[in-house]
């Protein structure tokens, strides 16, 4: 995107100017900045996701700076985020991470988008010992590499499918046959496999399990197979574009089972707008939802306050990816303040020992660095709005089944 490139250039120029100004005066003011590197897919097929993350980080940095910055050892540090666009190209994300650490000298790093790229870039930050927060990586394969400097704000994939399976099987004993259609891609496939596993342990019959290639323009063949298998529950994974097309073609080809679950598109308002009437009654799960209510010790405070800050800056409501990005910043800030230092090792230890409430939920990282303390909400689109149906504490309604 042209604008992002320009803004990066002007930003770099401004940063250089600031650094020079610092050198010419006391030499200390250049030190009073905490720089966080953020390689993001700001252009290319993943750009909608990249932009979401950027919005989250920006809100955190702006809020932190408006409150005087991050206090360390009696000094106030300003937050500065250095963005690099890796154009949805994972190898370039890894190069960008390396360059941010070695040339831009960032103190900390935010991972690139998604499990695949976050995993690829994690080896770089591990090598240099730079604490890294992954805001949008959920697959356990990202965290089981034995790395010490990587922390993630998404719980493992099965925390999304398990509550769904619980609710559906408890509410409707007639749901027996499950058809799964998965995008052949790290996260969408991993979550489909969790669904497959969870369904089988509950004695549900998985009647079809098909994968489709990235960039598939037509799902008629898969849907025809699924229809022939007469499923009670269709579970489809992919991103917005895929899922809108799948839902539309399901309708066109007369496949309308009582339960339709899609991950991960329905959490975004674009999905509901683009899906129209067909989005109705689709169930889904995500790591966060604006309806959750937590009281945190972070800079945003409560979930309500976060929502308000979000609406003020961007209008509308934040979705889970945006909130997770802002939470990654808030958690990093808490760790820096706790360590009372910007030393990478000390901040890393503070992250590992962290156990706090935030607007995003309780934050405690497990042995591998992946968060273990979140309870991801399950929701369903009812009357054009996502309605939370789990967990019980923040429930707004009950799961509805589509009539045959």
């Amino acid at each position: 995107m042209l604008s992002s490139r320009i803004s990066r250039r002007t930003f770099a120029a401004a940063a250089t100017a600031a650094a020079l100004a610092g050198l010419s005066t006391t030499g200390a003011s250049a030190q009073d900045v905490i720089r966080v590197g953020a390689p993001l897919p700001l252009t290319g097929p993943l750009s909608p996701e990249g932009v979401k993350q950027q919005r989250g980080y920006d809100l955190w940095a702006e809020t932190a700076n408006a409150k005087g910055g991050i206090k360390v050892d009696g000094k106030n540090y300003k937050v500065e985020i250095v963005y690099v666009d890796y154009a949805s190209n994972t190898p370039r994300a890894v190069q960008a991470a390396e360059r941010l650490i070695t040339e831009d000298k960032v103190n900390f790093l935010f991972s690139p988008f998604g499990s695949g790229a976050a995993k690829a870039a994690s080896s770089v930050s591990e090598k240099y010992g730079i604490p890294t927060l992954a805001a949008t990586a959920s697959s356990v394969q990202v965290y089981d590499q034995g790395y010490k400097y990587l922390f993630g704000t998404f719980t493992p994939n099965d925390t999304l499918t398990e509550p769904l399976l619980e609710i559906v099987t408890a509410k409707n004993k007639d749901v027996k046959r499950v058809a799964i259609l998965a995008r052949n891609d790290l996260f969408p496939l991993a979550i489909a496999q969790e669904m497959d596993k969870g369904a089988k342990t509950r004695n549900l019959e998985v009647v079809t399990f098909e994968r489709y290639a990235i960039g598939t323009m037509d799902h008629a063949a898969a849907i025809t197979q699924m229809r022939a298998a007469k499923p009670d529950w269709v579970f489809a994974t992919g991103y917005i574009n895929d899922l809108i097309l799948i839902r539309k073609q399901m309708n066109d080809l007369g496949l309308n089972p009582p339960v339709v679950t899609m991950i991960a598109g329905p959490a975004y308002k674009e999905f509901i707008e683009a899906g129209g009437a067909l989005a109705e009654n689709i169930s889904s799960a995500a790591w966060w939802h604006p309806a959750v209510r937590y009281k945190g010790q972070d800079l945003f405070g409560t979930t309500e306050a976060f929502n308000e800050a979000w609406t003020k800056k961007y209008g509308g409501e934040a979705d889970y990816a945006e909130a997770s990005a802002a939470a990654a910043g808030a958690v990093l800030q808490l760790a820096i303040e706790k360590a009372n230092s910007i030393d990478p090792k000390k901040v890393r230890d503070a992250l590992a020992a962290m156990d706090v409430e935030t607007f995003y939920g309780k934050v405690k990282f497990g042995e591998t660095g992946q968060i273990t303390s979140l309870e991801p909400p399950v929701f369903q689109i009812q009357d054009g709005k996502p309605v939370v149906i789990h967990p019980a504490a923040i429930k707004q309604g009950d799961l509805k089944f589509i009539g045959r």
């Binding site: 042209l2 960039g215 037509d218 799902h219 809108i244 097309l245 707008e273 683009a274 009437a277």
Partner: protein, 288 residues
């Protein structure tokens, strides 16, 4: 019984592929320009239909005319103003030029429309037609019929009109056509304009089927490429046959080997065909 449905899926999909490819084939065949802009033109056509429906309530099928006319002007302008300057250069030069223009236009669209997916949701959806065990999606069938009509129109235009004969003449022999008094530069611009018109019209038709985003342009371009090579370059019936063949192959491939192998299969067959019949299924020189 399921094979009837698979065949129907393939035919409907193939009709859409043909409609995506016909303009691309025309430009490649006549001008020897591989127009990388084609996918972006299609998406632009979809946006015209989307905004016409959202703000003026114009049905996307009616927008075919608006999108086609608008894209014709854009295409004519680009050819006359930019591509004509290097039209006699080797094919790689024009390919690089359209590639560069595509980057600019596509990024401009990302800035103007954002990458968020939009979709035309008709107030009165066309639903499905049920014939025995076979479901036919109404909107796809209607889009396909309209696309076929448009393609037929293009075919008649090339065969029967003065300008059409001039296009075919340029396609067969540029120098000879010029010697016969054909204004080759003008014909180039008209042809490129027609290619863009077909892309815009296809985009308007597809707007009721696919979510719309500038990111989809490469997807359309890729299909157009395969269809053209499969069917044979530069002939309208070739694009039709190539599109239908690809649709049916993908549909059966997906149902036999699973959707993740459909694309592999179609490209495998494409390679095989290039060995056996390098000019494509209906490839021949010139429009008859």
């Amino acid at each position: 019984m399921i094979y009837l449905q698979v065949l129907a899926n393939g035919l409907v999909l193939g009709g859409l592929y043909a409609c995506i490819a016909v303009g691309f084939s025309l430009v490649w065949g006549v001008l020897n320009v591989i127009n990388i802009l084609h996918g972006t033109f299609i998406v632009l056509g979809s946006y015209v239909a989307y905004y016409a429906y959202a703000y003026a309530g114009i049905h996307p099928f009616a927008s075919v005319v608006i999108a086609g006319a608008l894209l014709y002007v854009v295409g004519h302008g680009i050819q006359a103003g930019v591509i004509n300057r290097v039209i006699t250069a080797p094919v790689l030069i024009t390919l690089t030029l359209t590639f560069g223009l595509d980057l600019m236009l596509n990024n401009a669209m990302l800035v103007a429309f954002t990458a968020d997916y939009k979709k035309v949701n008709l107030a009165n959806p066309l639903g499905s037609i049920e014939i025995g065990p076979v479901f036919l999606p109404g909107d796809r069938v209607a889009a396909m019929v309209l696309a076929l009509l448009l393609t037929l129109l293009l075919y008649r235009l090339l065969r029967d009109s003065r300008i059409g004969r001039a296009i075919v003449a340029v396609r067969m022999d540029r120098e000879a056509a010029a010697l016969m008094g054909v204004d080759v530069k003008r014909i180039n611009a008209v042809t490129f304009g027609l290619g863009a018109l077909m892309a815009g019209a296809a985009g308007a038709l597809l707007s009721i089927i696919y979510p719309i985003s500038p990111l989809n342009s490469s997807m359309f371009l890729g299909k157009a490429f395969v269809v053209c090579v499969l069917g044979g370059l530069g002939s309208v019936p070739g694009a039709m046959v190539g599109g239908l063949a690809l649709g049916i192959i993908e549909s059966f491939g997906a149902s036999w080997f699973g959707p993740e192998h459909a694309v592999t299969l179609s490209f495998g067959l494409l390679l095989l065909l290039l060995f056996v019949r390098p000019s494509g299924l209906l490839g021949k020189r010139g429009y008859e």
